[in-house]
Each structure stands twice: as structure tokens, then as C-alpha cells.
Symmetry: C2
């Protein structure tokens, strides 16, 4: 491998793209019995290289007990430290998601393909199919591994390619993901399914519910974004394994995490198509009531956040109106003051006109009027809002403190005062 | 209404098309408290008209207990005679499929909307929502009703239209059905779902299995037809309710009934789309293992029939070959006779050439050779077929009866004799 200083970096061709700085990928090469750690920091750096031990038998894992190490792109699921482990696993072990969607659909079985330490001397091709490291090495590696995020690519022999050589693939996969994501945001389920291989029928019953909640959020907030972030793209056997987080976003920067998704994408008749679709870790989407569907959970969650946000906005709106009314009153801007009263205002035996005239006379009479309020309380009901606060009125001629109560209604899209009562304390 | 003799027949506009001669539709008109029976016999004839009694309250049924008769297109599900019924139902009762898909999705509830007789005097608007007839009338009607086939259209007031006026609708619905059916036969699930409304997500998980079995049948037989037959098209509130039988067909005229389907079709943005899809009677397609899906059941059934057919064809093929070999031998057509022997034939110490020459000499020697066989037995194995039969050989010089055994192999796409043994009895 060339130095880091040289312009063109070469990387194992299993890596197509990692978005998130600091994210790592473990690459296991069976032929050399080496495990390497690549970390993305703007470019890909090989930070670690260790001796490892893979399955006693060579070839691709097919069956439980065949003592072979699988080949493909996997992700670490759980970690265990020695006190929970049999001595054979050394100081710690990471479980993986073998067999993944591709393995299962191609009839491969077996399980418990782990990356683990060992209390024995590490020898080449000495495992039951797992990947073993020395305890010292796995204890170094642990700092770089994020469960359900860090990939482990297991291959017979690494093919190194210049990092630029995968740029076009990276762009086309990202465009494809964005298209897919847009159908979730705005499209029909038919648009969505167009991006899936004709031979693969994904679970789609959740769409009805998604469609309802999606419309509800849009109607309630005017805004729903479906975003994908932290995309990692790997490739093995011409199948792209793509991991990313999905996040729903609406007004007020309210976001709702909708799960980590793993798509298997392949070129079918020159077009990218999804040939497998899972959550990472895998959710049981066969659940009849769809209760476990991460996208539905997230959307219901966001719907609640949007409702709270709308309520917050409403309170803020009323509070702002009251503060502006106080400001107009205090600054002797009596036209503006008048604008906060409803046409049908009536209090203390006065309609709007008489009330405003009365207040104008007072404003003219005193050199200054200063109104401050505190402890504002707002209660929103069906027919308007009740606002109460402690009011401190000071003027050149008269001062008083007490509880002011306003009954507000919505008129011409604005909150207006319908009743005003005052109780001196 | 004009006489039947007049050229233009008018029909209630709920009827768009009935395919099957003899099929009937019951039309209930609330405003006149009349029940009519139309039967299709090349054209539509009103054969019966009875007084009936519908729900006490007027309007469209919405809720259980509202004493209203629903409006829409329903089908008779079950029939019960008086000994199983409360006296209120008179001599017999037919249950219907209210609430149907449309009722359920528009939030209507209630159930047990029946067509029944009565032991009381029939009075207008006197039922709980059911349609009641006199016992005499319902006992006349019974002969025309086929369960899960005969529709009952319930409307406030019948709108009569000339029968020709629905021709264009009939053609466009039938074209649409044929398109839908073609996607089942040859299309992808994406093609299939394109014909569904974007707001309605039908159950589609069964497609994976359907796709596998469909390909298997096509591969095994070269032929799979998905046919629809006995289409009845009704219309209410601009929704077409379409009932038809679905039948799978393959080689040897093997057919497999795939259920009676009921589609709800509507024009969305000027295009026909399926807005509801049910079996009649309704099957629970939510069954996780898809075991109850009529199309899958039918396809598995057809797959078996095709296998049996292929085996039958194979036996027939071998039997035909043996009979032709006998015929060639008996008619002294020794070139043709020779053509039934495999290149590597070896029996009685003779290869093909010597064997054929020996038989040619005998054929020349005798004035006639007559071979008849009976009790042919065929056993097909992995590497060929074993055939045995009782052979009666008569010629001008020699006659014998006994058991002939042939070992056949497949050579150049034809069955050929590899060994021939003979045991005189």
C-alpha cells in the first residue's frame, strides 16, 4: 500500500462510502489471516492490522457446523466480556448479523459467527467459522466498534482499488437512496415499490397507516421531511449493502428517529433495485398490528411532537400578543392599543369605542403610564383563551397592582381581547 | 317501462353487465317498497316484482340499530329455512355481505341485513333494516338465487337507463379486468399494483409464493393461463362492484378454480383503479402462512395436476412408441423398425446393426409377421423406462407367446430400445 502522503489512496473494494467521520470498518482477509481496521476521517486510514484466525475449512460458509467463515458484509450486534463467555472466546466477543438477508435467501444457514479473543495461542485457520484475535488485539479494537453501525467485511482476498474509482458508484447509490426516500416523503406506495426488484416483495401493509399519519402531520404542520443520514455503503459480490439512519423532521426542528435501515441493492437490467430491506437490528415487521414498525412508531411520535409544538406556538403567540398590548399601552400608542380589542368587546359597561376613548383620556391625562405584568397564565379553550396575570400599573397620577384577566378570541386570524376585568389587590 | 318487444330495453342503472345466462339480480327500491328480479337471458328481463318492506327509518344505514336499510350492491351469502329461524323471518331468509368493503371503509357498521319472509302481514317500512317479503314471494324468488353470485342492489330510487347506454362502461371495465388479469399471468407485482388506487394498499405478500409457483408451472408445462369468467358488473355511487370467478389453466385442459373475486373499481383522475379487493365469500388473507389464499391454493393444486399430466403424457408417449414399434415390425417396415433402437443397443449378443439385420432376414423369410401385445406395463426410472408386456408373435413360419421386456432410454428427444429380452411362456 502507498503511503498516506501519496495522492491516491487505495482501499479494499468492499468500501464504497462512509459518511460519518470516525466510523470504522473491519476487514477480514482469509487468505492472509489478517484483520484490518479502516477509519474514515475525510479519507480512509488503515489504523490497525492484526493477525487473526478464521474457520478451519476454506470456502464460503454454507451450513451450520461446516467450520467455514462466511463471506460478505456483516454488522456487529452485541458485545460480551469474558465473565459472560466460555474461555474459548477469550477476553471479549462481538456477535454479528450472519446470516443476513442475502445469506438466508441463498439458503445459507448456521449462526453465531463472532469476532472474539482467545485464551489459547492464536493459530491460522483454527476456528469453527468465527474470527479470532489475540485478547490484546481485540481489546484494542473495541474502541472503534459501534454496535449496529460498524461493518465487518469478510472476504477471501482483498481487492484494493483507488479511492476515487468508487466515486461514481457512491453518487449513483446516494441518488438512488434519495429517490427512495422521496417516495416515502411524498410518493405513492407504487412509486416506492418501483425501486424494488420484481422478485422481491417487501412488507408494505404499513404504508396505509404511514400514509394516514404522513398526511396528518403535513396537514397539521405544513411540513414533513424524511431524512436519511450517516450513510455507509459497502459492496460484496456486486451487491451493495447500505446502512443509514432514517429521521423524520417537522416544524420547530422536531425530529423523530425512525431506525437504522439496511438495504441490499443490486443492478438488475442496468438499473439499481432493492433486493432486500431490513432494519438493523432486524425488527419483526410481520407483526400483524404493525406496532413494531420503526417508521410508524417514529411518525406517531412526531405527530405528538408536532401537536405539542403547535400548542407551544399557540401559547407563545398569545403571550406575544399580550406583551405587545402591554407595550402599546405603556408607550402611549393608543391606536395600536385599540387594535388588540375585538369588535364585540364589552367590559365594565363599555363597548370597544367607549373603552378605547376612556383609555385615551387617561393616556392624555397622565405624563406617563407604565404597565408591567408577571405570572402570565394562559388557558386555551374551544371558544378562545383565558389569560390572567399580575399587573403593576404605574402612572404620573395613579398606581395600582392586581390581577388582570383577559378573555381572548380569534378574530381575522389574530387574538383579540373580548373582555377585560381587573381586581386590585 | 316499455314492452319487451320494443327495441330499446331500459334497466336499472345499477346493472352494468351480467355474463352468464340465467344469472339474476335482485333490485330493492325503497321509495316504492318494491323488490324486482332481473334475469339475464341475452338481454335483461324483469321476471318478478313484489311488494317488500324495508327499514322503519329512511336514509342510508350507518349504525347498528338505526333501523335503516343500507344502499349499495350486496351478495347473498347463506340461506336458512324456517325451522332454523325465529318466527319473525317467516319461511326463509338469505343473509347478505353487508357491511361490504366500501361500507367498512366509510365507517358504516351493523350487520345481519337479510332478505327474509314474514309471518305477519307485510307492511311498508316495517323492518329493522332487513328487506322482508311475503312468505309466498320469497319462496318464489328462491329458485333464482345463487349464493355468493346473485347480487341484491338496494337503492332509494331506481334510475332506469337504456341497456345500450352502459355498453362503453362494460367494455372499459372488461378491458381493465383483462389488464389486471394479465399482470397476474405474466406481470410483476409492481405492474399489478399499478392498477390499485394509491390510497388502498392490498395484501401482496402472497405474490412471492405466487411468483415461484407460477414460474414452476410455466417451466414444467410451458403454459399457464389465468382466466376470469362469469363477470357480473354492478354500479352504485360511481363505484363498480365486479364479481367473477378466477380459474387457472394449464396443459391437458387442467383447470384449478381460484375463487370468486369481488373488486371495487372507481375512476380516479379519469383512470379506473381498484379501491377494494375481496374474495366472495371473504377469505382471511391476513393469515400469516398464506395457507388460505385461494390463488395460492389453486396454483399449488394446478402444479400437482400439471405434474400428473406430465407423467400421464410420458406414459402415453412410451406406450405410443411401443405401439408404433409393433406396427413397424408387423408391417415389415424394417427401416422404421430399426429407428426404434438406440445406437448402443445390445441384447442376445448382438449390437444394433446385427440385431436389425437378423430381424430383416426373418422378415424376408416369412410371408407375414404379425405381432400383438397386451398388458403393457411401464415403469419410469431415473435412467430410462422399463416396459414389459405379453407378446403374441405369429408368422408364416413360427409363432410364439411370452413376456417381452424392453429397456428404453431417451435419445435425441425420443424413447429408444436399449435392451430387449424375451421369455417364451
Amino acid at each position: 500500500m502507498p503511503d498516506k502522503d501519496i495522492l491516491s489512496v487505495v482501499i479494499p473494494d468492499v468500501i464504497v462510502s462512509i459518511d460519518k467521520t470516525g466510523d470504522a470498518v473491519v476487514v477480514v482477509e482469509k487468505v492472509s489471516q489478517k484483520l484490518m481496521l479502516y477509519v474514515y476521517n475525510g479519507t480512509y486510514e488503515k489504523l490497525l492490522e492484526f493477525d487473526c484466525s478464521t474457520g478451519e475449512s476454506s470456502g464460503i460458509k454454507l451450513r451450520a457446523g461446516d467450520k467455514k467463515t462466511p463471506e460478505g458484509i456483516y454488522f456487529f450486534l452485541h458485545d460480551y466480556i469474558d465473565k459472560y463467555l466460555a474461555p474459548i472466546y477469550g477476553s471479549r466477543a462481538f456477535t454479528t448479523d450472519y446470516p443476513n438477508f442475502i445469506d438466508r435467501t441463498t439458503g445459507k444457514d448456521g449462526s453465531a459467527i463472532w469476532l472474539h479473543g482467545t485464551n489459547k495461542v492464536l493459530k491460522p485457520r483454527d476456528s469453527n467459522g468465527c474470527v479470532a484475535l489475540t485478547n490484546k488485539d481485540i481489546d484494542t479494537l473495541v474502541d472503534y466498534i459501534k454496535l449496529n453501525r460498524t461493518a465487518v467485511a469478510m472476504v477471501e482476498k482483498i481487492n484494493y482499488v483507488p479511492v476515487e474509482s468508487v466515486d461514481a458508484e457512491k453518487v449513483s447509490i446516494k441518488n438512488f437512496l434519495s429517490k427512495w426516500n422521496n417516495t416515502l416523503e411524498d410518493g405513492t406506495y407504487q412509486d416506492y415499490l418501483k425501486l424494488y426488484d420484481t422478485q422481491y416483495v417487501p412488507e408494505i401493509r404499513w404504508w396505509s397507516q404511514w400514509n394516514l399519519i404522513r398526511e396528518k402531520i403535513k396537514k397539521n404542520s405544513g411540513e414533513l421531511e424524511v431524512n436519511i443520514q450517516d450513510i455507509s455503503i459497502f459492496k460484496h459480490n456486486n451487491i451493495y449493502v447500505v446502512l443509514f439512519d432514517q429521521v423524520l423532521k417537522s416544524i420547530g426542528n422536531n425530529v423523530s428517529f425512525a431506525g437504522t435501515r439496511k438495504l441490499f441493492i443490486s443492478k438488475i437490467d442496468e438499473k439499481l433495485k432493492i433486493i432486500g430491506d431490513e432494519y438493523q437490528p432486524k425488527e419483526n415487521l410481520k407483526d400483524t398490528k404493525l406496532l413494531k414498525h420503526p417508521l410508524l412508531i417514529a411518525s406517531l411520535n412526531l405527530e405528538k411532537l408536532v401537536e405539542i409544538q403547535k400548542k407551544k406556538d399557540l401559547y407563545k403567540n398569545i403571550e406575544n400578543m399580550v406583551m405587545e398590548w402591554v407595550k402599546a399601552w405603556s408607550s402611549n400608542d393608543m391606536d395600536k392599543y385599540a387594535s388588540y380589542y375585538a369588535l364585540d368587546f364589552y367590559s365594565n359597561g363599555m363597548n370597544k369605542k367607549r373603552w378605547v376613548n376612556y383609555k385615551r383620556r387617561l393616556a392624555n391625562k397622565y405624563n406617563y403610564i407604565n404597565v408591567a405584568i408577571k405570572n402570565i397564565k394562559i388557558r386555551i379553550g374551544k371558544n378562545g383563551a383565558d389569560v390572567s396575570f399580575f399587573q403593576i400599573y404605574q402612572s404620573s397620577g395613579y398606581s395600582a397592582k392586581g390581577i388582570k384577566k383577559l378573555k381572548l378570541i380569534h378574530e381575522d386570524g389574530k387574538w383579540k381581547i373580548m373582555r377585560e376585568t381587573w381586581k386590585k389587590s
